[in-house]
Symmetry: C2
Subunit: 224 residues, 2 copies
């Protein structure tokens, strides 16, 4: 339990209380953790694996709204209307902690540090979404891809994996959907970065060869 993200900073006794309301669940690759329209009952903390969340627009167009890895929280979109508005799908065999929402509210009334931690996670999600809005609203294709790769790299590193070499769990199409680009543009841009020596691309295996070079792409091509 100690590694459960939302439990950071809890006292032993409080951790034990949290432990009692939490269950676990394994999700196989390709399975849904929840779907848009499902009744909201719990939020989920990713223990292992990799997820995507997506929204289906009114006419069936899919838009990926996020990729979640170990330590990240899923499902907070459901609190607002007691119904999940997005789908959550495992992109590899995964395991989550199920945190029943009613119990979480009750417990966080007893444990201020848990309450505060939960609020921070909600707020972090808001900040993350707004960062993506800036990306979608003002960056060009190359900047989006560079930002995406650097973001993934940072998150991998924070989890003890290599920051410079990793496997993409998602397809080019899913990346494109997330970044507001078509899959061909994603593929082309990755090829270009590869040709320029910024990264090495072999299928889904990515090596960051010149992180600074990727950073430089972000710091210049912006509009006034």
């Amino acid at each position: 339990m100690r590694e459960l993200c939302i439990a950071v900073g809890l006292e032993d006794q409080d951790l034990h209380k949290l432990d009692q309301i939490v269950a676990r669940r394994k999700i196989k690759r390709g399975e849904h953790l929840y779907r848009a329209g499902d009744t909201f009952t719990a939020i989920y903390a990713v223990r292992t694996g990799f997820f995507k969340t997506d929204l289906i627009g009114d006419e069936g167009q899919e838009q990926v709204t996020g990729f979640q890895m170990a330590g990240e929280i899923l499902g907070m979109d459901g609190i607002s209307t007691d119904t999940h508005v997005c789908n959550a799908t495992a992109l590899e065999d995964s395991e989550v902690c199920i945190i029943p929402y009613e119990n979480l509210e009750t417990l966080s009334r007893e444990v201020p540090s848990l309450q505060h931690q939960f609020h921070k996670f909600m707020s972090r999600e808001i900040v993350r979404d707004q960062g993506l809005m800036v990306l979608l609203g003002s960056m060009k294709a190359e900047e989006r891809i560079a930002a995406f790769l650097l973001n993934l790299s940072t998150r991998m590193k924070a989890r003890g994996y290599s920051a410079s070499e990793f496997h993409l769990r998602m397809t080019r199409e899913e990346i494109g959907s997330y970044l507001g680009l078509k899959l061909e543009t994603v593929s082309r841009t990755l090829s270009k970065f590869d040709a320029e020596g910024l990264i090495g691309v072999q299928h889904k295996h990515i090596r960051i060869l010149n992180g600074q070079g990727l950073h430089d792409l972000l710091d210049h091509g912006t509009n006034t």
Copy 2:
């Protein structure tokens, strides 16, 4: 106090407690409610007026992340790091309720319905942001403008104003920034809608003449 959005559904006695921690503040047009980098101490409920929030990217490019009107909450981005990440600016003379965050956490431990209401507002913000991500990631210029106008119309109506006739508080440039478009594109698209009889445009005064027509723009031009 009763109209304070976050207070919906509270008992009289709880409302009184909330009342005791809340203060008010007037903000003149053009003034900041808070700025990026300010220490986070409170969230704000708009009582009257109109705000925009924006994020300044690493090289000074502004991106509007939202427009807030009466009953909407500002500042929840700050919980995550105890620092506001965006600016909030009044677009007309306005008044807000100041809800000191520490007091809110304390009180919401005593008042479950307040706690739940607060969580709903955070979640609603997440859902709103994700809706905007879909707009930015997959809609064309005309669809974005149509969606924007309809969204404004709906929110005006919910507050008792006319849904078919209202004043824009923001400039074309701010609309463009919000929608990921340039101001010229915003202007051109509004002119086109006007020419087609969908709306009437006189400077910042907008009349919705054919709401269904605007809706139809959304329901078709989407990608597979």
